[in-house]
């Protein structure tokens, strides 16, 4: 059995490959030295600088409000879509529906970004809205994208539900709405929470789509990071990136935990 051993070695090397750059970034965010390549001892100096940086705080606040709003909207749309895909084997245009739900999962972001911006511009010309691009246009873009991810998670959960539980409730006289509220909803709640967290993380991380659909007044955190790193590596950006990695990892780990939760 030499193959599994070789495979395990590749797995180990692959994990080092995936994590080493992030680990180095995190370590260097605690570097006291102003020069990124010189180690000047441990320090929290750059984190302090970060929290005195008004532009950064403003972008962080915008990104968080966008992410919370977009994730909530994505949850609503994605949960309905995922439920529909799992429960309704037939309805007119189902193939197109499932295609529109799956495509955002893999489509290059640049396509989503440019085509949505062109839509917003066309809408502005036709009906005067959105007069100004920024918060709401980013929210709509992220909600559309996030809904696809929510739908996948919810569809899997609803498909895996034991229908006997809902049937039992109905047999005992519960109205469909009551069955949904007291049986179905609690059973799919972990998937809903996981979907929300995934949509939140995706929104928080997105650079390309937000750059297209945003306006001059709205700079999200990834947009701020991007414009600073084009100028080069800096310890303050290392600190900011460390915080972003930690926030995204916590949300993703929580989502993974929720997705594994068994209906009890």
């Amino acid at each position: 059995m030499t193959r599994p051993r070789t495979a395990t070695a590749v797995l180990g090397a692959g994990l080092v490959f995936l994590y080493a750059p992030i680990a180095v970034l995190i370590v260097y965010s605690f570097n006291a030295s102003r020069l990124v390549s010189v180690w000047g001892g441990w320090s929290l100096h750059w984190y302090g600088e970060l929290f005195r940086n008004a532009r950064m705080l403003e972008s962080a606040a915008l990104s968080l409000t966008v992410a919370v709003t977009a994730a909530t909207l994505a949850l609503t749309l994605g949960a309905l879509a995922g439920y529909a895909m799992a429960r309704y084997a037939r309805f007119p245009g189902r193939a197109l529906f499932s295609g529109m739900l799956a495509a955002p999962l893999m489509l290059p972001e640049i396509l989503t970004g440019i085509s949505l911006l062109l839509l917003f511009v066309a809408m502005e010309q036709a009906m005067g809205w959105p007069a100004e691009r920024g918060f709401w246009t980013i929210v709509i873009a992220h909600a559309t994208f996030g809904a696809a991810f929510v739908a996948v998670v919810v569809q899997a959960r609803v498909s895996g539900l034991d229908r006997a539980l809902e049937e039992a409730a109905a047999d005992l006289g519960a109205a469909p709405a009551v069955v949904f509220r007291t049986v179905t909803l609690p059973l799919i709640a972990p998937a809903l929470a996981a979907g929300w967290l995934l949509a939140f993380t995706l929104s928080l991380d997105d650079l390309v789509i937000a750059s297209f659909v945003s306006g001059p007044g709205a700079t999200t955190l990834p947009m701020l990071v991007y414009s600073s790193i084009r100028l080069g590596v800096s310890p303050q950006i290392n600190a900011l990136c460390t915080l972003i990695v930690i926030a995204a990892s916590i949300a993703a780990l929580a989502a993974a935990r929720l997705m594994r939760m068994k209906a009890s």
Binding site: A7, G14, I22, L77, R87, F91, L101, I110, L118, A147
Partner: protein
């Protein structure tokens, strides 16, 4: 199973359907429209397709894409880079997925999570992390210098672009491969061994064909986003690294030539539509 939505439950389908039609499908129709519009020094920077004088559609934007070598080589380079990165991801990802699928039951979920976690952390941040490593005065060159090797140009070239894309999309490859390998009936391998097949032979004639759907899914999941990648060629590539995604961005934000940017984006749509449909078709069949 209730096969169709009934009564008020129609809104379950109708609401997300309408949303996706407006904010996902319609934008591509508009993209196609701008792609055949004439550029203009106006706001927005294109002429209307119809006015009192009639229809103003033009294929000049596409003609420009075909006649200018920059665009042709960007398309070819994107295809080449995405294909190469897909193959590298497969070669690295297959053993990784195999090792996870063959690990003890309690190890599988945490290992898979460990591979997927980077996907959920900002792509820009992860690409930036490589800038810190690959810079002329970065860690890799410092380590090389310590070993007595001259500093090397590791960034702003094709090597860094390949590295960045493989790094970014490797988790996409491992996930479907893992699902396929884990589902594999191991008694088939035992049967092959009992019939005298060497482990290599059993792998080639049993494991590989049976995990082919996973291989295809992984390759599509890497190739499609990679061919339109913007962040990696922009941050890790050099001035001569041209990929469609970066060119769309430049035409859009720097030249402000929206019609040409749209035409180029349509070329990208044409490249990815077949793989996306194939992926969707496969997924629908499995489900």
């Amino acid at each position: 199973m209730i096969a169709r939505p009934r009564g008020t439950s129609w809104f379950v389908v109708a609401l997300p359907y309408a949303w996706l039609a407006v904010f996902f499908l319609a934008p591509f129709a508009i993209l196609a429209k701008i792609g055949i519009s004439e550029p203009a020094n106006a706001r927005p920077p294109y002429l209307p397709l119809f006015d009192e004088a009639g229809f103003h559609g033009t294929l000049a934007n596409f003609a420009l894409l075909v006649s200018d070598r920059i665009y042709v080589s960007a398309v070819l380079d994107s295809l080449r880079i995405a294909a190469t990165c897909t193959v590298i991801c497969l070669l690295v990802g297959y053993p990784m997925a195999y090792a996870i699928a063959r690990a003890g039951r309690s190890w599988r979920a945490p290992l898979l999570l460990l591979v997927m976690l980077p996907f959920w952390t900002s792509f820009v941040v992860r690409t930036y992390a490589w800038m810190g490593l690959l810079r002329p005065t970065g860690i890799v060159n410092a380590a090389l210098g310590w070993l007595g090797v001259e500093p090397m140009q590791l960034m702003a070239n094709d090597f860094a672009v390949h590295l960045g894309i493989v790094y970014g999309y490797l988790p996409f490859m491992v996930l479907p491969l893992y699902a396929a390998i884990e589902r594999l009936d191991r008694t088939l391998l035992e049967a092959a061994a009992d019939l005298g097949a060497s482990p290599l032979r059993a792998f080639v004639s049993v494991t590989l064909p049976l995990t082919a759907p996973g291989i295809l899914a992984g390759c599509l999941l890497v190739f499609v986003p990679a061919v339109g990648e913007f962040v990696v060629p922009d941050l890790l590539g050099g001035p001569d690294t041209l990929m469609i995604g970066k060119l769309v961005w430049n035409e859009f934000f720097q030249s402000r030539d929206w019609p040409v940017a749209s035409a180029l984006a349509i070329v990208l749509v044409v490249i990815v539509v077949a793989p996306v449909v194939l992926f969707q078709h496969r997924r629908a069949r499995v489900a």
